[in-house]
């Protein structure tokens, strides 16, 4: 089947198998490998991207369902050489170690703040529960999201640390 998508502002037209998952389309057809695959049960969230501005685990959609949609991947988040505020917050707060969950985690965190710009620590933890990280124990990820939210709201962060 032929599909047309806009990925990070660039239009792509591809012939795809009906069974192709969106994550494989992004990685193999579009060639953007920043979106990682960490499981086969839609549990880990490593493949989270934005579809029309909403965060979605890209293993839960078929590529054909993305026909005509706007996709944003981790590669599309920074503004040129300037990291997105969420990426910068992860960097400042040491919210990543091996980096494998990071693209999905950052995309989910951006989506979380879009929906709730002033989350509590508990709301951040609940909002990210679909994204697994094995390195950080989440402490600094939560801190990064709260820091990013605070910076956007001009307030300060309180996390137990």
């Amino acid at each position: 089947m032929q599909i047309t998508t806009t990925v990070n502002g660039v239009e792509h037209t591809d012939e795809v198998e009906p069974r192709l998952l969106l994550v494989h389309y992004v990685r193999e057809n579009v060639g953007l490998t920043g979106t990682n695959i960490g499981c086969d049960t839609s549990s880990c969230g490593a493949c989270t991207i934005h579809v029309n501005g909403e965060s979605v685990k890209s293993c839960t959609m078929l590529a054909v369902q993305a026909d005509g949609q706007e996709l944003t991947t981790i590669e599309g988040l920074a503004d040129g050489d300037v990291l997105h505020p969420m990426q910068e917050a992860f960097r400042q707060c040491h919210g990543l170690q091996c980096g494998y969950c990071t693209p999905g985690m950052v995309m989910a965190a951006v989506g979380l703040l879009d929906e709730n710009p002033t989350p509590t620590e508990r709301e951040v933890r609940l909002g990210l529960e679909g994204n697994l990280c094995r390195c950080t124990g989440y402490h600094n990820i939560v801190k990064a999201v709260l820091t990013c939210a605070a910076e956007q709201n001009g307030s300060t962060v309180e996390i137990n640390a």
Binding site: T41, R91, C98, C101, P103, G137, N160
Partner: protein
């Protein structure tokens, strides 16, 4: 405290943000599965659905005719490709039974997930589709999934061995004193603990790709591995490929936690089949197959007995372990439980009255091997749980009991009952700080208030004081344990013509931030900007000497090697500077990147000028080699002995068995800290992995040997919403055995956490008569423990 973008020198001790992060945050970093490899064939592995069976026949013909399929191989087809069986580097006793096994099984399969055939196809999907067309006839044999059942030899996993016991390894110190201790003890406790099997579940599944250059004869293996250097040697031995024809590269690696400290069948298959087909062959693990075929951790039954005098002072310890090997020996399977053998007295001053025995047994489950802490979390769990039991038995407060038994600061360096020397420590200092941070006295008051008010939510406070024997390891100690490699690390420092610095390290990062930490050490010593330090690693062509990353060794061994290489390169630079300045070497001092004559700071030459002079070689002292470069291989004289105290506070609902971690305080002492931001990150992650063992995770096998927790939907890796924030603190007791004064930190959190959590739960439920809760302490388990303590009257 916030992180620092570009702090001023000295950099060591600052919270510098990591240089590794930007590529990882933007998707630019390449993990093995991301590498574009034109023309690669995709491999898929057919895995046994039986835990234990004879293979009676395999028909690959239906698969081999499918679209895109290039070849299908069984173990029988490939038998001629292996020069040696899969490697086992730790034959712990001379009579250890280690049945040979190969990348694909022949004869029998010994766990669900054991590989029986491999498909090569044009695409990954075609390769996986073809697996379903392979027809294997199995003749099922009984499974062995219980360690005591395995010990009984009721069913033999490897019939030809005549037993399931692989080895019995003993460490006995002062047998008469031990017998006397137990005979005279005022108090004894005897506990049995089960260390459930765990799955590392690094977020990046395993992946590898072998890329041949058929006419040059060389082969490059890209792999999601912690150990490119060890893998190269082992692959060379297993395949019979001359070592100089192999290059191993670990691209970005998405976590390991010990599970990628391994030589895997898929790596060897990709190498062998790429050579055979003269094209690249790649493989990417699926999570479910990884749960079955990637090594698992823990898997022990522990019996520990403590003897104490009337004051609660330990006078003897006996330990008896049964350790689950799984179906085969992998790289260091047999040795993992023995890494704990030296730690069953924990941080306590035990006289020479100790007995440790471990029997490794084969079962029909996935092989075990290193998992974060490897032997040491198990040991710490046993002694710290047993200490709480001793506290209950003696009526001494658990804090006071620990204080009475701690090795005191003035006893360091302390020669332990095992003969090992503990470098430095202040256990009471770490405990006291943790007690203050958690607000111990107020918590005990609140606990008392709740107990007397008769509510159903119980407050529990659990303490765990630990030693992390790490920085693996002095080579001669490894020799005494029959480990078949050394424990050194290599570093090279080069100063380039434009005064930039290249550091080559044999340590192999997979999330630890080595590039940042190494650049900080170099920048301080040479007076350069950390951004001017290039760090080369994880590629045997760039960094030919190395023993890689595990056992919290990278800084304590690899970082020290860099420090020593810096000394060596500066010695040479000093000789050149003295020559240029026509001064005596001993009159020169080096500060902020400049050599000057002591007392006359204007008489100076910057390192940049020395570096350029060393490059042009126009005016060097007679006989001196050009260029500024130094290589050091550092063999540590001792392990490093980080320590600390963790305190966990829980709320347990007696109606439901639900445990909520209310507060977690970790006070860790890893000596001098290069980058506290990174140290805290290691503690956070480590603590949550230990807490996850205590509360959530278990690789569960049914009676037929099926892994029933083989997905991330069934195996409970905690999410952010399942775990608390961690309050970290540190004390700093430098190690006297290395010039940086550093110790490891990678495994500390995991070692400290599980006993702190379970001690807290048991403490909460003590008034109900609960004396132990098995891991993972799920609501059902806790509820059942409460019900059992009440005599099943619920």
């Amino acid at each position: 405290m916030t992180a620092t973008e570009a702090p001023a020198a000295p950099f060591i001790g600052t919270r510098m943000v990591r240089r590794e992060d930007a590529p990882l945050l933007t998707g630019e970093a390449k993990y093995t599965a991301d590498l574009p490899i034109p023309g690669a064939l995709h491999m898929a592995v057919l895995r046994s659905p039986f835990a234990h069976a004879r293979i009676s026949s395999i028909d690959t013909a239906p698969a081999s005719v499918l679209d895109g399929v290039v070849a299908v191989y069984t173990g029988y087809d490939l038998q001629d490709l292996w020069a040696n069986p899969m490697p086992s580097a730790w034959i712990v006793t001379e009579d250890m039974k280690n049945p040979p096994h190969y990348p694909l099984a022949t004869g029998t399969v010994n766990y669900v997930g054991d590989g029986v055939a491999a498909v090569l196809a044009r695409s990954d999907a075609q390769a996986r589709d073809a697996l379903e067309a392979i027809v294997v006839d199995y003749d099922p044999l009984p499974a062995v999934v219980d360690l005591e059942d395995a010990l009984s030899d009721r069913v033999l996993v490897h019939e030809e061995l005549g037993t399931n016991s692989a080895y019995t390894w003993e460490l006995k110190v002062g047998e008469e004193a031990l017998a006397a201790a137990f005979a005279s003890a005022a108090f004894t406790v005897k506990e049995r603990f089960v260390q459930q099997r765990l799955i590392a579940m690094a977020m990046e599944p395993r992946a590898c790709a072998a890329v041949p250059q058929p006419f040059g004869g060389d082969m490059t293996l890209y792999s999601a591995t912690q150990i490119p250097h060890i893998l190269k040697v082992m692959a060379s031995i297993t395949l019979g490929t001359p070592e100089q024809q192999l290059r191993v590269v670990a691209p970005s690696v998405g976590g390991g936690f010990g599970s990628k400290l391994e030589v895997y069948a898929e790596e060897l298959l990709c190498l062998a089949l790429a050579a055979k087909h003269r094209v690249p062959v790649r493989w990417v693990e699926e999570r479910t197959e990884g749960a079955q075929s990637t090594v698992q951790g823990r898997g022990q039954i522990q019996e520990i007995e403590l003897a104490a005098d009337s004051e609660g002072k330990l006078i003897g310890i006996r330990v008896n372990l049964t350790a689950d090997m799984g179906g085969y020996q992998m790289l260091i399977t047999a040795g993992v439980p023995l890494l704990g053998a030296f730690l069953y007295a924990g941080v306590y001053d035990l006289p020479e009255a100790y007995s440790f025995s471990c029997t490794g047994v084969y079962t029909t489950m996935t092989p075990t091997d290193a998992y974060r802490g490897a032997g040491r979390p198990e040991a710490t769990y046993a002694i710290e749980r047993a200490m709480d039991r001793l506290a209950q038995t003696t009526g001494i407060d658990p804090v006071e009991l620990r204080r009475r038994n701690f090795i005191r600061p003035e006893q360091f360096p302390y020669t332990a009952f095992t003969g090992l020397v503990y470098d430095s420590g202040d256990h009471d200092g770490a405990l006291t700080k943790a007690l203050e941070m958690v607000g111990y006295d107020a918590l005990r008051t609140e606990q008392q208030r709740r107990r007397s008010s008769g509510g159903t939510h119980h407050l529990g406070i659990g303490i765990s004081s630990y030693f992390e024997m790490c920085g693996l390891a002095p080579s001669r100690v490894l020799a005494s344990l029959n480990y078949s490699a050394g424990g050194w690390e290599s570093a090279t420092v080069r100063i380039t013509p434009t005064n930039k610095v290249q550091v080559v390290s044999g340590a192999t990062p997979h999330g630890q931030g080595h590039e940042t930490s190494w650049s900080m050490i170099v920048a301080d010593r040479l007076g350069v900007d950390p951004a001017d330090v290039e760090v080369l690693h994880s590629d045997t062509a760039l960094s030919p000497l190395g023993l890689d990353t595990y056992g919290s060794r990278s800084l304590a061994v690899g970082g020290v090697a860099i420090s020593l290489a810096l000394d060596k390169v500066l010695d040479k630079a000093r000789t050149i500077a003295a020559h240029l300045m026509e001064a005596a070497e001993e009159d020169l001092e080096f500060d902020h990147g400049t050599f000057s004559v002591r007392g006359s700071p204007d008489h100076a030459v910057p390192l940049a000028a020395v570096a350029f002079e060393a490059f042009t070689a126009h005016n060097l002292p007679d006989g001196m080699e050009p260029n500024l470069e130094a290589q050091v291989t550092y063999d540590p004289p001792n392990f490093s002995w980080p320590f600390g105290t963790h305190i966990c506070v829980v709320d347990v609902d007696e109606e439901t068995g639900a445990v909520e971690v209310v507060k977690y305080v970790a006070v860790d002492d890893c000596g001098n800290q290069i980058n506290p931001l990174i140290v805290e990150g290691q503690v956070h992650g480590g603590v949550i992995q230990g807490l996850a063992q205590a509360l959530f995770e278990e690789a569960v096998y049914d009676a037929d040997g099926n892994l029933t927790t083989s997905t991330l939907a069934d195996y409970l890796v905690p999410a952010a919403s399942d775990v608390p924030s961690i309050t970290t603190g540190s004390t700093i007791t430098p190690s006297p055995t290395n010039p940086l004064g550093v110790k490891g930190i990678g495994e500390a959190g995991t070692i400290g956490a599980a006993p702190a959590v379970i001690n807290a739960i048991v403490d909460a439920l003590a008034p109900l008569g609960v004396t132990d809760v098995t891991m993972p302490a799920s609501p059902q388990t806790v509820w059942a423990a409460i019900a059992a303590a009440r005599g099943g009257d619920r």
